[in-house]
Amino acid sequence: MLTRESPTPDRRLAAEIVSFTRRSARRYKRSRISWGERFVDAYSWGLGIAVSLTIAASFVLALRNEIAGRASTGNSIIGTQWLILPEPVLWSAVTYAFLLVVANLARKLGPITVGGPESTWWLSLPIDRRPMVLPPFLRKVALTGAGLAVVYLPFSMVTAVNRTAAEHLVASATFGAAGVIAVTLAAFQQLDMLGPRAGRAATMTALLACAVLPAVPASPWLAAVAGLAAVVLLAVAGPRTGEVRGEELIRGGAVAGHTGASLFMMDTNEVLRALGGGRKTVDGGRAAGFFAKPVGGPLRALIRADVVAFLRLNPPLIPSLLWMLACIAMLLVEGGLPEFAQLAIVVIAGCATASGMGGVARKTALVPELDALLPLHPALVRGSRTLMPCLAMAAWMAVLSGLLVFLGASDPALIAVGALAGVGMGAGTLRSATKAAPDWSAPPVDTPFGPVPRAQLGTLMRGLDVTILAMVPLLVGLYLGYTPGIVGIVQALFSAGIVLVSVLSRPKRA
């Protein structure tokens, strides 16, 4: 390897290069955007954020009051709770899972990155890269900390109703610091100081300490300790940010740019493609023997290809199990959540799991010519593509329903209803994976609440709509606490209808 030189004089030059680039960019932007436009932008953003916060606050307060009064009602979809999970254990597990998601997401998106032009024009310069990557990294860390503190506030209000306002604020600040720790640990993984596996293990272990936050009383001391830990980690990582390899900086920047643009355009399929793009574990040899066996007819050949593609794209087994465990844990929490919240959790877990099953359809949707390769009706092609998601979701829902029956939520017939619901949900993944990107040329529609981008929201909901619809009879069965025959019949009709709609309707092209 070529030896590295002392970075000090280079660092000053690098800072000047960054400053020169930023100054030129600012001057150019100033020449194109008037003060009037800036005011309108700021006003629209301010108004939007204020309205959203008001709606969110009213929802959180209503939920908080509902939870505060739950002891008097005692309603739960599990009639007689013989297995109870202590509240602090559950909320600690939820906090841990959330922090792991933050760290994992930060790792996928960088967090130390450069954008496309920067990779070409900055990284090739023979100067220290720290001034190029440290300020954006610190901005991301600060935004994550502030954002997570805001997000944690309603969580604290709902899960710890006895806290005072000051204690809620302290708890939020502590969680914000935990978020900073999670992002900084992701940065350490980029620096590859411990190797990939040990780095991941160290992150998971370090975040365990942060997960006890909901289990201990909110205190300024705890906030100070978490803040100090965050600052120490940043002080260690910051000076080393220039040592992240160029290839890694470019990778993170590409994923972050792709994800950001997809989010901005509200294109959920593209967001999933962006976040899954860096996965290198496609096993080309998996199920090769099964694929090589002779088949009779094009439909069987296509089904076999779709089954093999599903297996090779690594269906998300661990996330599916985690969603199931999280769902069950939420239903078993001490005191119990309100019924509607419990049902909402089942829906969220189901939708999240279903969204991960559409990998094959999402990839093939990019190349519609593939569907025309075999002499088959398009409906048969879509039917083949939906087979594995339907089977996987049927199995997942059957297991979830079985666990619910085991815990006393309903009678064993719910397992069959759950499996049938899974078939409909699997078909929903095809509808979601093959939807077109939102058409931003469609004008918003005037409503009493102001202009609403109805066409774009419609695209956003496509797929999710039938996935939720497929669960409605099951939810009725859960709410009733037993499964009448009519629920089973309606569930079969719902699922069959959704499969037919998904398979027979041609996907809209942008």
Partner: protein, 225 residues
């Protein structure tokens, strides 16, 4: 004449699969090695690997006797590479892009050097334009100007003739030859037989099997393909 670039048993490719045969080559200061081959033969992959843009599957590449490390400051100082990356700062002008490179390499008179390159590449009239406002060929000229404005002991050019008009191609050939005369080693991937004949001192034909030929033979292979 010192050796600048040494590649020994270099195997390049994607996801563990090689795209061409093993490459072994040596390029000294003042020499220009042309690399030719049909589309998909792996010429650009070889160039990208030598430039440190991607990892090799096997073998080793040394610049001035040291293994390549694209993150090491000396490597970045010595190696200049121009690929077909159409990536520009959307709000920096042509002149500002070149000024950035000139300042980043601590050139003595950055403004003066930028003016010289703008003149050579015929971009004076567009020096205050942002890259989005340039034609495809002008953006290519800007990339080449950025690669040539800075000093380097190894210059890697991937099909530099693409999108250039014939007059510019001729001028570029003379410029590359001058760069080599000033002591730099040049790796030139090209599909242009005239550019190859005007510049290269040796030639590598990339295929399943990699062969070293005279530039004339390489030019006739390009003409034949």
């Amino acid at each position: 004449m010192g050796t600048v670039l040494e590649a020994e048993g270099l195997l390049v490719g994607y996801a563990g699969a090689p795209v061409c045969g093993e490459v072994s080559a040596t390029v000294g200061a003042g020499q220009i090695l042309g690399i030719v081959g049909v589309n998909g033969a792996g010429k650009s992959t070889v160039a990208r690997t030598i430039a440190g843009r991607q990892s090799s599957l096997a073998g080793e590449v040394k610049v001035h006797g040291l293994l390549i490390d694209p993150d090491a400051v000396p490597f970045r100082r010595q190696v200049s590479a121009v690929f077909d990356d159409d990536l520009f700062f959307p709000s920096l002008t042509v002149r500002e892009h070149l000024l950035l490179v000139a300042r980043g390499h601590s050139l003595a008179d950055p403004e003066g050097r930028v003016e010289e390159e703008l003149e050579f590449f015929g971009l004076q009239g567009r020096s205050h334009a942002i890259p989005d406002a340039l034609s495809s060929g002008q953006r290519r000229r800007l990339l080449l100007a950025a690669g040539l404005i800075r000093p380097s002991s190894l210059l890697i050019l991937d099909e530099p003739e693409q999108r250039l008009d014939p007059m510019m191609r001729v001028a570029l050939g003379e410029r590359i030859a001058e760069h080599a005369r000033n002591g730099s080693a040049v790796l030139l991937v090209t599909h242009d037989p005239d550019l190859l004949l005007a510049t290269a001192s040796s030639c590598l034909v990339i295929d399943d099997e990699v062969r070293e030929l005279e530039p004339e033979q390489g030019a006739s292979i390009i003409a034949g393909s």
